[in-house]
């Protein structure tokens, strides 16, 4: 069973989580074309490599951000949305990464399914 590290609840069986799709900027609903809106809602880039995604811990209905390698299916790290935004802001301004610490995720164990 793969273990995913929820930023709120800690390490849990992957069966407690739901994939929420790639993290991508939302177009302005007032000005987006139908094609842009459809692309945002339904179409994935299917990047081979490291991507940033939404994940949901279903028992707590808690959404967070994970970075995953789609080639190896390794979850590189997980973080709260606030930590993700802080990192984006720091990256945009060219500063060092903020102190908000992401959690490491994606280890394989022999734990049984719940």
């Amino acid at each position: 069973m793969k273990i995913l590290n929820c930023p709120l609840n800690g390490p849990r069986n992957i069966s407690e989580f739901v994939w929420g799709g790639e993290m991508k900027p939302m177009p302005d609903p007032a000005t987006a074309t139908d094609a842009q809106w459809t692309d945002f809602l339904f179409l994935e880039d299917n990047t081979a490599g490291e991507i940033t995604e939404w994940w949901l811990h279903a028992p707590t209905n808690y959404w967070f951000i994970a970075r995953r390698n789609t080639l190896t299916d390794e979850i590189i790290e997980t973080m709260t949305y606030d930590a993700y935004l802080a990192r984006q802001k720091a990256n945009a301004s060219g500063e060092a990464e903020p102190a908000a610490k992401p959690t490491t995720g994606g280890t394989e164990t022999g734990a049984t399914s719940a």
């Binding site: 069973m1 609840n9 849990r12 028992p59 707590t60």
Partner: protein, 231 residues
């Protein structure tokens, strides 16, 4: 003598518990029946399952929930997945920085929780609002030294007593359904309170009974838990 059917509020386990030999008494608030006459204190110290689904409880949710509860005299801190014992014997479960659930004491006294519900006003704009958890969730208590072994059969979380200390909370999947598991020992007996979807309560109860079978498969009731409480 009362029966669950005399009240509009009923535990979803009423038929199963009646078949198991439960007698019924009115809750202290008089608005429902609660099972009685099941189990023994020795069984409860070994492993027993108790249904408290008709006991009072309420949730609050919203960004200002923690300060709003502190203002009302509830004992709590803004630490997610921690429970706090209240002076009256009840519990406050802090699920997140923006959500709590309050469980009544075993006495069933609902005065404080009812007042919290009645005094809430939308116009106060406190950014906290009540959640009627008594309707949405069933409430079970698994007591006894064998409880962690029983949970190991139906849940991936390590509930061993040295790994999951008193007043810890796990919001997780138990027997494939979402559940909030809180350890809050009663007297010196390990006790795990479980809140799970009331619509799935019968399924969940069956899973607990099945998992508990090898440990004696005992049921208990609120009066037994109160005996544990008083030692």
């Amino acid at each position: 003598m009362t029966t669950p059917e005399q009240h509009l509020r009923r535990t979803p386990l009423r038929s199963a518990l009646t078949k198991a030999g439960a007698k019924w008494t009115a809750t202290p608030a008089g608005d429902a029946a609660i099972s009685d006459g099941l189990g023994s204190i020795n069984a409860a110290r070994h492993l027993a399952i108790t249904d408290l689904s008709t006991m009072p409880r309420i949730g609050f949710k919203g960004r200002q929930t923690i300060p709003a509860m502190q203002k009302r005299g509830i004992v709590l801190e803004g630490t997610a997945n921690r429970a706090f014992r209240q002076p009256d014997g009840g519990l406050c479960l802090v699920l997140a920085a923006s959500e709590v659930i309050l469980l009544s004491p075993l006495s069933g006294d609902d005065g404080k929780l009812q007042k919290l519900h009645d005094d809430w006003r939308l116009d106060d704009a406190e950014r906290t609002y009540p959640m009627l958890r008594r309707d949405s969730q069933a409430w079970f208590v698994v007591t006894g030294a064998k409880a962690p072994e029983m949970f190991a059969k139906i849940c991936g979380i390590d509930f061993r007593l040295n790994k999951f200390p008193d007043l810890s909370i796990a919001q997780t999947s138990v027997a494939k359904i979402s559940a909030i598991v809180t350890r809050a020992d009663i007297g010196s007996t390990p006790a795990f309170h479980i809140l799970a979807d009331s619509a799935s309560a019968l399924y969940f109860f069956d899973c607990l009974i099945d998992a508990a079978q090898e440990f004696g498969n005992a049921l208990a009731c609120r009066s037994i838990l109160r005996d544990l409480e008083s030692g």
